[in-house]
Symmetry: C2
Subunit: 269 residues, 2 copies
C-alpha cells in the first residue's frame, strides 16, 4: 500500500497518514497528492479537509469539486495542539518574526498578537520550523515532532486560541468505501436560483426522512458574490435504499450535484 500525503514530514497530515500502514510519500501540495492518486502513483492520499476552528480547507474542497473525480474513502480526526518553537539558544524576548502555515497562524492569532511580532506564513508548519533554524529572532508554530526532527526548543505548548481544536483529514482514493452500516456521505451541490429558498427545500428532504446532517458549509461558487455551493455530510451510505431515494429526489431540484464519497463514520464526540 502506497500512501501519499500533503507533506512535508513533521506536519499533522503526516501524523494522520501514519495511522495507515504502508509506504508513505510526502508531496508538496494538496493538488500533487490528488494528482498522484489520479495517476495511480499512490493507492490513496491523505489531506486535511476541515478544522473545528478555522472551518473547511478551501483548496481541498475546490479541487474535489472542480478538478478531480476522486472519492473520500475514509476520515481521520486528530486533536491539534500548536507549539511555539525557537532555536535552542534563543530567548523569547529576541523573537521578532513568527513563521507558520496560515491556518496555524489563524488558530494562534491571539497568542501572536499579544507577542506583538510580525507573522509570515510558510507553506507548512514544518517548512516554517526548518526556516527559523539558526536565526534567534525567528520562531515557528509547529508540532512536537517537528521540534524533535529539527532540534528546536518548545517554548510554549497548546498556544491555539481555542483549546478544543480538532482537524478532520480524509483519505482520497479512486473509489469510495463499501457499506459498513455506520457510514457517512459527502455531497456538494449548487442551486438553480440565487435564492436560498432553494436550500430550504433541499434541507427539508433530509429533515423529512430524519437524516442527521453532520456538516453543512457554504462556499462562494466563484461566479459572483451571493452565489454559493453547499457541502453537506450526512449519515448513511449512497447505496442505502433510503439515501438512494433522497439523492434521486434532490437531483431535479439542483443545478449540479456531486457525491464526494461514502465512508465509515469515525467518532468525534
Amino acid at each position: 500500500m502506497k500512501i501519499g500525503y500533503f507533506g512535508p514530514p513533521g506536519t499533522f497530515t503526516e501524523e494522520a497518514a501514519l495511522t495507515i500502514s504502508g509506504e508513505h510519500l510526502a508531496l508538496n501540495t494538496i493538488n500533487e497528492v490528488l494528482m498522484a492518486v489520479k495517476n495511480g502513483q499512490v493507492d490513496c492520499g491523505v489531506v486535511p479537509i476541515e478544522n473545528s476552528i478555522e472551518g473547511s480547507v478551501g483548496v481541498t474542497l475546490d479541487l474535489l469539486t472542480h478538478d478531480y473525480d476522486l472519492k473520500i474513502r475514509r476520515e481521520i480526526i486528530l486533536p491539534i495542539s500548536h507549539n511555539l518553537l525557537i532555536n535552542p539558544d534563543a530567548e523569547i524576548e529576541d523573537i521578532k518574526v513568527i513563521y507558520s502555515h496560515s491556518q496555524a497562524l489563524s488558530q494562534c492569532r491571539k497568542f501572536t498578537e499579544e507577542m506583538d511580532v510580525e507573522v509570515h506564513s510558510a507553506t507548512s508548519t514544518s517548512k516554517a520550523a526548518e526556516l527559523i533554524r539558526g536565526n534567534n529572532t525567528y520562531a515557528a508554530i509547529g508540532t512536537r515532532r517537528a521540534a524533535e526532527l529539527l532540534n528546536l526548543k518548545i517554548k510554549s505548548q497548546n498556544i491555539q486560541d481555542y483549546k478544543n481544536n480538532l482537524t478532520r483529514f480524509v483519505v482520497i482514493s479512486q473509489k469510495d468505501h463499501e457499506k459498513t452500516g455506520n457510514d457517512k456521505t459527502s455531497l456538494v451541490f449548487s442551486l438553480h436560483e440565487d435564492r436560498p429558498g432553494g436550500l430550504y427545500k433541499i434541507l427539508g428532504i433530509f429533515a423529512e426522512e430524519n437524516i442527521n446532517l453532520t456538516k453543512i458549509e457554504s462556499r462562494p461558487s466563484k461566479e459572483k458574490l451571493g452565489r454559493y455551493r453547499f457541502y453537506i455530510d450526512f449519515e448513511g451510505h449512497r447505496k442505502d435504499d433510503l439515501i438512494r431515494n433522497i439523492l434521486n429526489n434532490i437531483k431535479p431540484k439542483v443545478r449540479s450535484l456531486k457525491i464526494i464519497g461514502s465512508y465509515p463514520k469515525e467518532g468525534d464526540d
Copy 2:
C-alpha cells in the same frame, strides 16, 4: 470625519476607504480598526468581510461576533485585480519566491503553481510589495497603486484564477444606518441542537415571508467539529415591521442571535 482602515496604504481596503471622504488612518490589523472604532479614536472603520472567490474573511466575522458590539453601517463592493510585481531591473526567470497576503495567494494559486516558486504570505499585499524591493529573486502579488507607490514593475496583470473577483468591504461604526427603503440586515445565530433540522426551520421563517437571503455562510462554532454558527444577510431593515416580526419569531428557536447591522444595499449585479 475620521476613517480608520485595515492598512497599509496601497491595499484594496485603502481603495475602499478612499470612497468615503475625510481623514484616513491606516491601522495594522482588523482588530486594531475595530478597537479604534470602539474607543472613538475614529468615526468608522473599513475592513474586508467577503470575497467572491475565497468567501468570508473569518477574522472580521469572528471579531464582530465575539469581541465587539459594533455595527455594519455601509457596504462597499470593489472588483479585485491582482498583479505580479517585480523590481524594475528583475526578470521573471529570476523569481524564486512570491510574497503576498494569504487571501491574494489563494486567489492566484494556479498562477503561482505554474511558476513553480515558493510562496510566503505577508500581513498585506502592500507589505509584500515593500518586502521585495531590491531583491530580484522576489516578486509580490499586489495592487497597481502599490507598484506606483514603491516604483515596482507590473510583470503580469489580472493573474487571479477566477477573473470575476469581487470583494465586499464593510464600514463599521458604533451604530448602524437608518432605514432608507432599500436595506440589508446582517445576522449571526447558533442553534440549540447539533441537527441542521434547526437551520431548516429558521430558513423556513424567511421563505414563508418571501424574504430574499443575499448571503448564507456557516462557520465552525469553535467548540467541536460539526457545530456551526450561521451568518445570514437578507433584504430589509431591522426596524421594518415585517423584519421585526421575523426576528421575534426566530429568537426563541435559536441558542444565540446577534444583529450585526442594517444598512443600505449596494448593487453588485
